[in-house]
């Protein structure tokens, strides 16, 4: 059951990536189309650029690590790579009571990988792909937020039909995590 789900998931990602490539080819006409991966966190829908995501897997066994902030759930072995697993709901402070991310099996992990960074982000449902034109993204975000939380990682708000999707830059999130972790340990 899980396998089928995962397979479906992969197909979806692949499809989206292919679509993106095609778009690139026809970029002269459709320059402003962007591929996003949308996932639910708390009550809201979040999204990130598909380029930042390497793969989506069923959450593997997570090993807890000491000396880490609450939202870092631990590390997991994904295809021989040691990857830190984060819970963005906890990081953003929007965790809902009923959503229990510790019960692994049902959850999925978005694997983010760059040269110097490997993290996994826990999500409850299979993420969707989303194609939006750049004109749909409101980049001038002016959100009220508490001053001690830097919300640089929000790169825009996407409005399609009735949906409102928060577009984030995951690398900025993690870099910020990094800094706050350092502070915590220094204290």
């Amino acid at each position: 059951m899980a396998d089928i789900q995962e397979k479906k998931l992969k197909d979806k990602v692949l499809e989206a990536k292919k679509l993106k490539e095609e778009n690139l080819k026809n970029s002269n006409q459709k320059l402003d189309l962007m591929q996003l991966i949308a996932f639910k966190q708390g009550e809201e829908e979040y999204a990130m650029n598909i380029d930042q995501i390497k793969e989506v897997v069923i959450t593997p066994n997570i090993t807890k690590m000491p000396q880490t902030p609450e939202y870092i759930k631990g590390v997991a072995n994904i295809r021989g790579n040691i990857i830190a697993i984060m819970d963005l709901e906890e990081k953003f402070g929007i965790k809902t009571k009923e959503g229990n991310t510790d019960a692994a099996g049902k959850n999925f992990t978005l694997v983010i990988e760059s040269e110097d960074l490997k993290v996994g982000i826990l999500v409850k449902e299979v993420p969707n792909t989303l194609a939006v034109s750049e004109s749909d993204i409101d980049e001038a975000v002016n959100v009220i937020h508490s001053s001690n939380v830097d919300q640089n990682y929000i790169t825009g708000i996407v409005k399609i039909d009735d949906r409102l999707v928060i577009l984030i830059d995951v690398f900025k999130v993690v870099n910020e995590v990094d800094i706050s972790t350092t502070n915590k340990i220094a204290v």
């Binding site: 690590m65 000396q67 072995n77």
Partner: protein, 626 residues
């Protein structure tokens, strides 16, 4: 002939072979582009190195031929000699002969090289001569000036003597001068002629010569391969992963009962692992031999008389470990010389021989290498260490009675500690000893220190013999597996709650007659979250215990401190390959890395050095809180 000499020779051969090939290549390039200064410089440098290496090894033939080639390029470099196309025939032959000489070291065949060497010398001499002739007019003028001066001088000398004698002496001197002038060139010419004829003679008989050329034209391969360490590291990592994968497969299929199935796989992969590790091993002698100079220099600065004694130089250790500890060893040795060994006068007074001795001894231990640095100096003054530690704020007055002598001595490895009041150029800037500790922590080593007043000090470094594979003990705490390096574990014991006692914020128990601290691992892991909260946090695990519960305790020692870690369940011993933590987890101190277990789960490896300092600091802050 010792094996070490053989080894040096092999290294020399490999290097010489490489130099020879470089020279060949550069020479070919140079022939195409006679004016290229860079090539000439490179050739000069390479032949110079080769000359030096050969002379160092006592291969005088190679060194003398290389010397002449070097001279020639030296002249070219300085613009005294202009390269011409026809010189290259000689040059190539010289280089071929050089190659033949290098090869002859292997098979012991005789190679005649004097002919070609002389030929090169002739080329150089000719160049010098041309220069000399260019400078001749100037010289002659000088002579002219000198000659009258001599004339004047001579009469002055023999003033008292007859006028007759005066003139004759003056006359005599003049021809003499001329003769001298001629003499300057005539023997030279003669010599050159002789050399040329000699050269021709040899060329006539030149059987050996052609032989040399022939062997030189063969493409030869050295028996040694130089491999960058990076490639070896990569290879080792791959082997490590192979071992993990093997364990995973074996674990997955072990339920079927046919474990024999994998015996071969097991054996081959183990052999592979050990072979790769073996490739990286070098003899500590390589490093130790460099310390003669360090000791000499240090002793010279301090005006002391110190001998260095080396023991167990053929003990083998991983190259990377040797690299990491090399600076530490230099530091320790300098410390021995400047702090340990007394001045010759003082030694005499204490009825010791005037010359102090520093001994570097390496030996194999069960799962590593131990290096002892011993001096026969005055030993470390515990009282002064105590005063200093107080002055530097490393300990407080209240704590003093609680710290035993051994712990006190270990304080010299803390940052910002130096027992000497004045700062010397060699040691004692207050940095250094803590660097030694850090270097050892980074490779999972251990330092112990033994000192006897008036007799000397021994510092023992316990090093793992390989960094690739760590022997660890696996255990479970809160349903999760952890690994603890065996190099730090002393024993595993079972204790009952009743044998553990609360002492001011911490827990203690008795092990083999010694009082040790007991820490619940789960308390330690949550310690950071509650930092600043209840100062008795390290007792929570104990408070929650059922009175009759049996506890599994892993006793670990680190640099003389012993602590018992309480875990939930002990599992097996296992060799693991540790992977470092990546961003964003690189801030974690208590865990040094992770490994992947047979079941694919990730298993953290405890960083004992960090855990010990955390516990120690926690105890300190507890005491302050009280």
């Amino acid at each position: 002939m010792s094996s070490k000499e053989e080894e040096y020779k092999e290294i020399f051969l490999a290097e010489a072979q490489e130099n020879f090939e470089d020279v060949n290549r550069l020479l070919t390039d140079l022939e195409k582009n006679l004016e290229d200064k860079n090539i000439v410089n490179a050739l000069f440098r390479i032949t110079h190195t080769l000359k030096g290496n050969a002379a160092g090894m006592g291969f005088l033939d190679i060194s003398s031929l290389a010397h002449v080639i070097e001279d020639l390029f030296g002249e070219v470099r300085e613009g005294k000699l202009k390269l011409t196309k026809d010189m290259f025939t000689s040059l190539f032959r010289a280089v071929d002969t050089l190659g033949a000489l290098i090869n002859s070291l292997k098979d012991g065949s005789k190679v005649s090289f004097r002919g070609i060497k002389t030929k090169l010398e002739v080329i150089i001499n000719r160049a010098k001569e041309e220069e000399a002739s260019a400078a001749k007019p100037a010289e002659e003028e000088e002579n002219k000036v000198e000659a009258p001066a001599a004339k004047k001088k001579a009469p002055a000398k023999s003033k008292a003597k007859s006028a007759k004698k005066k003139t004759t002496s003056a006359k005599k001197e003049e021809p003499k001068k001329e003769v001298e002038n001629e003499e300057l060139t005539a023997p030279q010419l003669e010599e050159i002629n002789k050399l040329i004829s000699q050269d021709e003679e040899e060329e006539d008989t030149g059987v050996s010569e052609t032989e040399a050329t022939e062997t030189g034209n063969k493409i030869t391969f050295s028996d040694l391969v130089q491999v960058p360490v990076k490639k070896l590291d990569n290879l080792l990592n791959l082997v490590g992963e192979l071992i993990i994968e093997r364990d995973r497969i074996i674990a997955a299929h072990s339920q079927n009962g046919n474990s024999n199935e994998y015996a071969r796989l097991n054996r081959i992969s183990s052999d592979l692992q050990y072979s790769v590790m073996d490739v990286r091993l070098v003899q500590v002698g390589f490093l130790f031999n460099k310390f003669h100079r360090v000791v000499r220099d240090a002793a010279a600065v301090e005006a002391k008389n110190v001998n260095l004694e080396l023991k167990g130089t053929n003990t083998e250790i991983d190259r990377n470990i040797l690299q990491i500890i090399s600076d530490s060893l230099i530091h320790l040795i300098r410390n021995c010389v400047s702090h340990g060994i007394e001045s010759p006068e003082e030694r005499k007074k204490n009825k010791k021989s005037e010359a102090g001795t520093v001994t570097l001894a390496a030996r194999n231990d069960s799962d590593g290498v131990i290096i002892d640095i011993t001096d026969d100096g005055k030993g470390i003054d515990v009282e002064r260490v105590r005063e200093k530690a107080l002055a530097k704020g490393l300990v407080t007055k209240e704590m003093l009675p609680m710290i035993n002598e051994q712990d006190m001595l270990m304080l010299i490895f803390e940052a910002g500690f130096s027992t000497r009041e004045e700062v010397t150029s060699l040691s004692g800037r207050g940095v250094g000893m803590d660097v030694v500790k850090k270097a050892l922590d980074s490779i999972g080593g251990n330092i112990t220190l033994h000192t006897e007043k008036g007799k000397g000090t021994t510092i023992s470094l316990k090093l793992p013999s390989s960094m690739a594979v760590k022997g660890t003990l696996l255990f479970e705490s809160e349903n999760q597996q952890y690994a603890i390096p065996l190099s730090y574990t002393e024993a595993v014991v079972s204790l009952y709650k009743s044998s553990i006692h609360k002492v001011s914020g911490g827990l203690i128990a008795t092990h083999l007659g010694k009082t040790i601290s007991i820490v619940f691992l789960k308390d330690l892991f949550t310690f950071y979250k509650h930092a600043g909260g209840s100062h008795n946090h390290l007792q929570t695990g104990f408070n929650d215990l059922h009175p009759e519960q049996q506890l599994h305790v892993v006793i670990v020692t680190y640099n003389g401190r012993t602590v018992g870690l309480v875990v939930d369940k002990l599992l097996q011993q296992k060799e693991i390959v540790e992977k470092p933590l990546m961003k964003p987890l690189d801030q974690i101190k208590l865990i040094s890395g992770v490994t992947i277990l047979g079941n694919g789960h990730v298993c953290p490896v405890l960083n004992i050095a960090a855990i010990m300092s955390t516990i120690f600091n926690a105890n300190l802050s507890n005491q302050k809180a009280i």
